[in-house]
């Protein structure tokens, strides 16, 4: 899923203060799972904004709404009836959600309430870990299902580097060394031999390095 975090109210207000009415739109998918932009967070942000404006004696219309998925056209239509009544939309979707709203509601200013961070997993309640960079050619099969491109701070394919100490990354002791995880896992599976071979340079052209990516499938089109 996509993991994101709420921006500060100050930053959000610098973007939306000029509008009299704002539709605050959450997304009940990934960003709900990471407790940043789901139904609950949308309601809380709406309330916080209303309170802030009221305290300053400003008369604003702040309306909450939440879509099941902000990145899919069919769902986005769910707020179509509310959009015309508002001057702007504040999205609690990920970057994809914000841009999807902007594509559908072309005449409406759209603003992000979240900072979109990464593709990751919920490791435990309150802990989210980045583990996929979407490089376009998954090599997890060779690394014990632990991604060196994502979990190593230097994207080493023939790691580990010389800076790993007691299983922690040189960048920050809070970061577990991805290569230590790879080696431990392959060792416990008895497949350490997979790491003996030289891994040639990565073809980054399938990642974002090749420009914005797009998938088109004729068998899926209407």
């Amino acid at each position: 899923m996509i993991v994101a975090e709420l921006k500060t109210i100050e930053e959000i207000r610098r973007m939306i203060d000029r509008y009299d009415s704002v539709l605050v739109v959450g997304c009940d998918s990934c960003v709900a799972e990471c407790a940043a932009g789901g139904q609950r967070e949308t309601m809380l942000l709406g309330a916080a904004l209303r309170l802030a404006y009221r305290k300053e004696g400003q008369d604003r219309t702040i309306t909450d709404a939440c879509l099941d998925r902000q990145c899919v056209d069919d769902f986005i239509q769910g707020i179509a009836h509310q959009v015309p009544e508002h001057d702007a939309i504040l999205s609690l979707g990920c970057g994809a959600g914000v841009q999807a709203l902007a594509r559908v509601y072309q005449d409406k200013p759209i603003f992000p309430a979240l900072d979109t961070l990464f593709i990751g997993e919920t490791e435990m309640r309150g802990v989210w870990q980045e583990n996929c960079l979407g490089c376009g050619q998954c090599k997890l099969g060779w690394f014990g299902a632990v991604c060196p491109v994502t979990r190593c701070s230097k994207k080493l394919m023939n790691g580990p580097c010389g800076g790993s100490v007691q299983g922690r990354c040189e960048v920050n002791p809070d970061i577990p060394c991805g290569w230590q995880i790879i080696i431990n896992r392959l060792e416990s599976l008895g497949e350490l031999d997979r790491l003996g071979e030289y891994v040639p340079p990565v073809n980054w052209s399938t990642s974002h390095a090749g420009g914005p990516r797009r998938v088109e499938r004729e068998d899926q089109k209407p």
Binding site: K154, K155, L156, N158, E170
Partner: protein
């Protein structure tokens, strides 16, 4: 002989090699570099020129190598993959060789979060092992990555770093083997303070037959003070400074700590020299280039062979 490198000639002739390090200045003043370089003339076989070490912006290592070369030194061009993609790396290799530089040390580099440009993108298009393989293919096949032919292939003597003290410990020699397979000719190790652990590492390397395929130079850094020892032990990635060693420096009065540090470095060099498979010393006297001649003299390593 694979190259025109003086270091290769020294090693092939069976001499015990000595290299030192010279950090380029944080600016364009060539005289700072030349002053440092003067101290090293005649007492080392080659000089490593660091590449924006610890991710601090400094004079380009290619330019600094060229300046030192013109003074009569034999530069080892350090190149990190942190700052350049494969286009820039390969292009700089062409340029460096055209300037008469014959040695390259292939590194990934310290992460940019250590330096003074913490907000930058780290490139890491290649890792150090892929980079070493690239330099080898340029030299031996005359091709760049992807197989296109080179007009006048650069013929570098290829080096890499090794840290016998980083974790996971049981993986260090495997990684050394991968570097050797990638085509590395010589290795310069991370600073050795824990000589027992280094001896064990060398034993493993020898058992795997690696010391027959690659020349290993033992990395030594003289400590200037107990403070520096503690700082390095705590803050430098992958550094193993035993507590007993810190206590030894801390045990002498402040004004004598530098000479105690030098004494330890001399003892380390002498002991390293006795370890099977060690073919030379890489003396990293950080911002202490002027002391290199006396340290080498005291260690009996200052007279360099004619090759």
């Amino acid at each position: 002989m694979k190259t025109e490198s003086r270091l290769e000639k020294v090693l092939r002739a069976g001499h015990f090699a000595v290299t030192a390090e010279c950090g380029p200045p944080k600016g364009s003043d060539a005289s700072i570099l030349q002053t440092k370089g003067k101290h090293l003339l005649g007492c080392v076989d080659a000089v490593n020129v660091t590449d924006n070490q610890t991710a601090i912006v400094r004079m380009s290592s290619v330019a600094a190598c060229s300046i030192l070369k013109n003074m009569g030194l034999e530069p080892i061009l350090q190149m990190v993959t942190r700052d350049r993609n494969r286009i820039a790396l390969q292009s700089d290799l062409f340029g460096a060789y055209a300037l008469g530089i014959n040695n390259v040390l292939c590194l990934t580099g310290d992460h940019q979060s250590f330096g003074n440009q913490k907000e930058c993108v780290g490139v890491f298009d290649l890792d150090s092992i892929q980079f070493a393989r690239t330099v080898k293919e340029m030299r031996d096949n005359g091709t760049i990555i992807g197989g296109e032919a080179i007009q006048g292939p650069p013929k570098f003597f290829i080096g890499a770093a090794a840290n016998p003290f980083a974790d996971p410990v049981n993986w260090r020699v495997v990684r050394l083997a991968k570097k050797v397979d990638a085509g590395v000719d010589f290795i310069q190790t991370q600073c050795i303070f824990n000589i027992d652990r280094f001896e064990e590492y060398m034993r493993q390397a020898t058992d795997r037959g690696l010391t027959d395929k690659v020349d290993i130079l033992a990395g030594v850094t003289p400590l200037k003070s107990a403070g520096m020892a503690r700082y390095m032990a705590k803050n430098v990635a992958g550094m193993d400074i035993p507590e007993a060693l810190i206590e030894r420096i801390a045990g002498v009065p402040k004004e004598r700590q530098a000479s105690e540090g030098i004494q330890i470095a001399i003892e380390t060099m002498q002991r390293a020299r006795e370890i099977p498979g060690v073919k030379g010393i890489h003396l990293m006297a950080i911002e202490w280039e002027d002391r290199v001649p006396e340290i080498l003299k005291a260690a009996g390593l200052h007279e360099r062979p004619e090759v």
